[in-house]
Symmetry: C2
Subunit: 583 residues, 2 copies
Amino acid sequence: MSHQESLTAYLAAFVAELVHCGITDIVVSPGSRSTPMAMVMAEHPDLQVHIHVDERSAAFFALGMAKASNRPVALLCTSGTAAANYFPAIIEARYSRVPLLVFTADRPHELREVGAPQAIDQIHLYGQHVKWFAEMAPPERSNEMIRYVRSVCARAVAIAGQAPAGPVHLNFPFREPLIPRLEDDLFQLTDRPKGYVKVHHGESIINDDQIRQIAEKINRKTKGIIVCGNIDDGCFAEAVTKLSDILKFPILADPLSQLRSGGHNLENIIDTYDTFLRNEDAKKFLKPDVILRFGAMPVSKALSIFLKENLESDQYVIDGGSGWRDPFALSTDMIYSSETLFCQQLSALVEEKTSDHYLKQWLAINELTKENMSIVKDINELSEGKLFSQLVDLLPEGATLFVGNSMPIRDLDSFFLKNKKSIKVMANRGANGIDGTVSTALGAALYSKSLYLILGDLTFFHDINGLFAAKRQQIDINIILINNNGGGIFSFLPQSEHPKHFELLFGTPLDLEFEFAVKLFNGHFTKIKDWDHLKNEMERSKDATGINVYEILTSRDRNRDEHRKFWNSVSQEISKYVKGEQM
Amino acid sequence: MSHQESLTAYLAAFVAELVHCGITDIVVSPGSRSTPMAMVMAEHPDLQVHIHVDERSAAFFALGMAKASNRPVALLCTSGTAAANYFPAIIEARYSRVPLLVFTADRPHELREVGAPQAIDQIHLYGQHVKWFAEMAPPERSNEMIRYVRSVCARAVAIAGQAPAGPVHLNFPFREPLIPRLEDDLFQLTDRPKGYVKVHHGESIINDDQIRQIAEKINRKTKGIIVCGNIDDGCFAEAVTKLSDILKFPILADPLSQLRSGGHNLENIIDTYDTFLRNEDAKKFLKPDVILRFGAMPVSKALSIFLKENLESDQYVIDGGSGWRDPFALSTDMIYSSETLFCQQLSALVEEKTSDHYLKQWLAINELTKENMSIVKDINELSEGKLFSQLVDLLPEGATLFVGNSMPIRDLDSFFLKNKKSIKVMANRGANGIDGTVSTALGAALYSKSLYLILGDLTFFHDINGLFAAKRQQIDINIILINNNGGGIFSFLPQSEHPKHFELLFGTPLDLEFEFAVKLFNGHFTKIKDWDHLKNEMERSKDATGINVYEILTSRDRNRDEHRKFWNSVSQEISKYVKGEQM
C-alpha cells in the first residue's frame, strides 16, 4: 500500500467523520505541511473552507463563528510559529467556554528537534489551555487505524462541545510527499457510513434532596437578588424571569446575560446597578440576605464590590460548566447544575413570595437612575456615554451587537437599557483581551444577521488584519469606531493621577488616520460629524454591504469628566431619595 | 511596612539589577496589571522604554533588537491574552537562539482560576519554549527578598545569554493598588550597589586529545567541504576561512553565515551551490569524503539532498550551543564546541594540504554557474531572480539586509553572490515563519544602520501592525516589497500540479493596495516601474528617512518559469563541463 493511499484514506475518513459530527466550517491558513488535510477538506462538499493568511486573526474568526453558531468550528494551519499565533484565541475560547477544534500539521517524528526547517515542539503546544490534546498516529489505512482516526475525531468534537465547552488540539504528523489522491469516492466509508459514534451530551442537574434543601433555605429569606453575568442559553431568560417572578427577587442583568433585550418579561430586570451601586446609601438600603448568581462574573466593578460587601448573605453560584466563578471567595453554595434546569427545579419548589417591597425598592432606584441619564443624553458634542445610551434606538430589530473590551463593554453596562427589541450582545469576555475583536465579530457575522461592532481605536488597531476576512468573503459588517486616540480606560484608573509617564505608558495615543486601514480592505469609511449624522448613517446602515466603519472622535479627558458628572449627580439624587424613604 | 513601599522597593531593586546586567531596552505594551513595573522602568534613566500596542509585534520588535545588538532585550505586558501574543516570537527566539527576557504581570494567587477578569493560567505559559520559567514571589522589601529578586534577575539575564541563547520568562503577581512610589533615590541599592552577581560566561571547547584525533582523521582525507549555515559570531569568518586555506576545502556559505560579504578572504567561498547541486553530474563529480558543518542547517534544499546522498562520508557537526542540528541523521561526529575555537584548534593541528585539485573543481563549477546567471540578469521585466542578483550593487556599503522567509531567503541563497562590501544578512530562521518579519527588521534597525528589508506580500501583510513602531519611534527603514499577489513558493512545489484547489489553498492572492497600509503609518510608498527606476530609488534610499516602501510587482507563474529556465540552462552547461573534465 502506497504512502499516498494511506495518507488519503486516513484523512478522508477523518474529514468525513468531522462532517458527520456536524462540523460545517474550517478556517485554513496557507502552508505546505498542512497540504494533505487542506486538500481533502476542500474536496468535501459539505465543509466550508475559509482562508485567512494571518493565523491569529484566523483563530479569532473561527471563535466568532463558534460563538454565534453554538457549534465547534475547526482551524487548520501548517507547522511552526503559525500554530503559536492561534494561542490568544485558544485561551479566549477556553475561558469563554467556546468550542474550537485546532488541527496543526507537524513534521513527522524523525524531523523533530533536529534542526529541520519550520519544526517546533508542538506536543502540548497550548499547555493547560486546551481541554484535550492528542498527538495523532502517522497516517495508515488499516481498518484499525481508520476506526482510530474516526473515533478520535468524534471524541474531539464531543469534548470541545461538552460543558464547559472549549478548545481541543489535534497534532498531525505528515511525511512527504504531501499530496493526497483526490478521487470521486473519497468520503465513502464502508463501516458505519453515517458516522462512527454519536455522542449524547448530558447536562448537570442536582437531585431532589439537594434542590429541596435549597428551596427551604430560600423560603426563609425575604431580600434576595439574582445576578446574571455572561450566559448563552436560549432557554435561560424564560426560566430565570419566571423564578424572579415567584421569588420577587430583582435580576441584576449584565449586558451579556442576554436579559436586557428580548421578548421575555423585563419587569424585574435591573439595568443601571453599575451606576447606583457606586452610592453608599443605596448599597446599605438595598442590602440582600441571599444572592443567586448565574453565568460569568458580571462586568460591573461596582456590583463586584457590592457582592464583596455582602459576605454574610448566602451566596449561591450556579454553574452548568462546573467551574469556580468566585474571585472573592464569597459563595456559600457552589451548584454544579444547568442554570436553566436549576431555575425550573427551584421555581417548582419554592413558595411564591407575598411581599414585593424589597423588589420595588430596587426598581425605584433603578428608575431614578434612568431619569438622571438626561445628563448624558443632553450632551451636544460627540460623547461615548451618550452613544451607548442611544444604541438601543440606533440598532435595527434583530441586530447583533459585538462590543469591544476595556471602555465599550463598561459603557454598554452603564448605558444600554432594557428593551423589547431582539438584540443579541456579544463580547470576548473569557480573558477580556483587546486582541482579535474585529476577527471574532466578523466570524460571528457569518452566523448573525445585521452585525454591529462597537470598539475603541486601540482594539481596532490590534486586529486590523482581521478585516481581510471581510474583504475576501464579502462579509457585511457595520463598525462603530470610538476614536479617543489611546487607552481611554486609564483616565478612570489611579494611573491617571501620575502624569509623569501617563501618556507614554497608558494614554498611548496612536495618531492614526484609520481611513487608510479601511481603504486597504476596500471598506467604506465615514467620519461622524454630529448626532444627526450618526442617526442618518445608522438608518442607512441597515442596507449597507461590505465593511462600513463609522468613526466617532471623542476626547479621553472630556469623557472622564462627563462620566463623573453623571455619577455624582445620580449619587446625590439617590442619597436624597434613600433618606426620604428612611424617614 | 505599606504595600506600596514593598512593591516599589522590590521592583526598583529588580530594575536596577536589570540595568546592572547590561539591559538597555524594554518593549512595553500598555496594560493595567503591569503598571508598577512599567512605571518603575520608565523612571530609570538608563533604560529605553519602547511602547508597542500589539504584543505580537512588540515581541518580534524586541527579538530584532536582541538579534542586532547581541544582547538580551526585555518585554513587559499585562495579564491575559496579551502574554499569549508573545508566543510566536518566543518560539522564534528559542530556535534562532536569541536572548529575550519576557516579563508578564499576573493576578495574585487569590485571583487565579476563580473567574477574575483578565486572569489566565500564566504558569509555564510558554511550555518548553523558554529556557527558564520562574513564578516570582509577591513583592516584599525584606533584605532577603531584595536579594532574591536581584539574584533572580541576574540569573534570568545569564540564562538568556548563555549558549544556546534563548528566551526566559518571569511571571510577576501584583496586588492592587498598583501604583509605586517614585522617589529620587529609587534605584539606590545598599548592598552591592554596582550589581548583585556578575556571571562569567564560558564557551564550550573540546580537549587536546579529542581535537588531535579529529585532526588525524582529517589529515587522511583529501576531498573535504566546509558547510556554514546561519551563524552569528564576529570572529568566525576569519577562523573558518583560515581553516579552509590550510585544508583546501571549499566553504559552502549560506547567506546567513555572514561569509558571502566582508573583508575576510573570499577566495574559497562557494556561493552558487544551490543552483549547481541540482545537477546529478556535478554531485557525482564533487563527491566529498569529509564534511565539516557549522551553524544552523543551510537554507538550500539542493545542499541538504547533497549531504544526504553522502551518508558514507565523515560528517562533523560543530555546535557551540550543544543542540542536535542533524535533521537527516547524517553526523558521524557531534562536536559541542565554540565554532570559532574549534576552527582555531584544528587549524593549529592539521597538516596543510598540498593539493588544491578538489577545491579548484568546486571553484570552476561555481564560476561556470555565475557565467550563466546572465540568463537572469538579462530579463527586462521586473523579476524576482534579477532583483536578488542585483542586490549587492544596489545596497550601500555597511547596509544590513533583513530577508523575509519563503521565497526571498531562497532567492537570496541563489542569487546573492560573494562581495567585498560589508553587508550583514539577517532573517528569522529559527522557525522560518512569515510572522513578525516587519517588526523584527524594525527592531534590528535600531541597532543596525542602513537597514533594508526585502520580503513578499503575504509576509508584509502578516505584520502590518509592526510598522507602528517605525512611525512612533521615527525609525528609518527601506522596505523592498515583492508583490506577486500570493504565496509564490507554492508554484515551485508539487501542490502546483493540482490546479483544482491551488489558488484557494496555496496561491491565496490578497489583492491589496499596500499603499494604504504604508500611508496609515505615514510612510512613503513607491511603485517601482522598471530597473532604472529601482536603481535611482535605491541610490536615493541611502538618505531616506522614515518608512520607505518600494513595491515591485511580479508574477508567480513567470517567476517559476524564469527560475526553471535558469536552472535548466546551468544544468546543461555543467553536465557538458563535467563530461569534458572526465574525458
